[in-house]
């Protein structure tokens, strides 16, 4: 039995469009903030993970790709990947890197550092991304944040694609920092043990 399709079942298209847009204009990376803020609103206000459960374009993409192209081994992921220490550890690491990115933005804002037109993959590899710096009329810190945020989105998608191929399609969801954060919020709100 196929589930009835809703408009939000097609948000995997948004996940692709996002990266295409950022390829041509890095400022579009700011739109990714929607994927950060919406799940938190759902969790804080609604006390649910409706975003993860129904609206996450990335989760949908990881489910659809293997279904269409048979590109996942469909093997159970190692147990530690869904363990609490790994999930909370990855969340802490992710938030630290996010903080670091905000810091870089601040440095450009204050004039202490110059704008770097690179996308940093896996927090390590610098990939030139000059061509996407198409709108230069905005303050440089706005662009710096775009590069940082796009790097973070691209890196997490690549990690997600790797674990999708190696294990089950939505393995990324087990340690997705947004997923972990929203589940913690929901558990606290509902008086459950974290």
């Amino acid at each position: 039995m196929e589930h009835k399709k809703h408009w939000y079942d097609y948000l995997w298209i948004w996940a692709i469009i996002y990266f295409v847009m950022g390829f041509f204009n890095i400022l579009c990376a700011w739109l990714g903030m929607i994927d950060f803020i919406l799940p938190l609103i759902f969790a804080i206000v609604g006390g649910n993970k409706w975003f993860c459960n129904n609206m996450c374009g990335r989760g949908q993409l990881f489910a659809i790709l293997p279904k269409t192209f048979k590109c996942s081994r469909q093997k159970p992921a190692p147990g530690w990947m869904a363990s609490k220490w790994f999930r909370y550890g990855f969340l802490a690491f992710f938030l630290t890197m996010f903080g670091n990115m905000v810091c870089q933005t601040w440095l450009v804002f204050s004039g202490a550092s110059s704008l770097k037109q690179v996308v940093k993959l896996f927090w390590t590899f610098k990939v030139p991304w000059k061509w996407a710096y198409t709108v230069q009329s905005v303050p440089e810190w706005v662009t710096q944040y775009s590069y940082g945020f796009y790097s973070l989105m691209l890196t997490s998608t690549l990690i997600g694609l790797i674990v999708m191929v190696l294990y089950r399609p939505r393995t990324w969801c087990t340690f997705c920092p947004m997923g972990t954060m929203t589940q913690v919020i929901c558990k606290v709100r509902n008086g459950k043990q974290i």
Partner: protein, 67 residues
């Protein structure tokens, strides 16, 4: 007649992603308040699709307890 088998979620491991809800042919599994997935044993037919899909491998198909 109820099926011999039924899905059972380890709520302590479940990440509440909802992948199971998308594959269940009977809409017998739902994420409860963003905390974990829960099976409705009355609807579950024990087909095992959720168990095969779960990225956290936290759903087991077990023998249904006789009431």
């Amino acid at each position: 007649m109820a099926s011999k088998k039924v899905a059972n979620v380890d709520k302590n491991v479940c990440v509440a992603c909802g992948a199971c809800t998308k594959v269940c042919p009977k809409a017998a599994i739902a994420v409860i308040r963003g905390c974990y997935a829960q099976v409705d044993p009355k609807l579950c037919v024990g087909c095992g699709l959720c168990s095969k899909t779960c990225p956290a491998s936290c759903i087991e198909i077990i023998e249904r307890e006789e009431n």
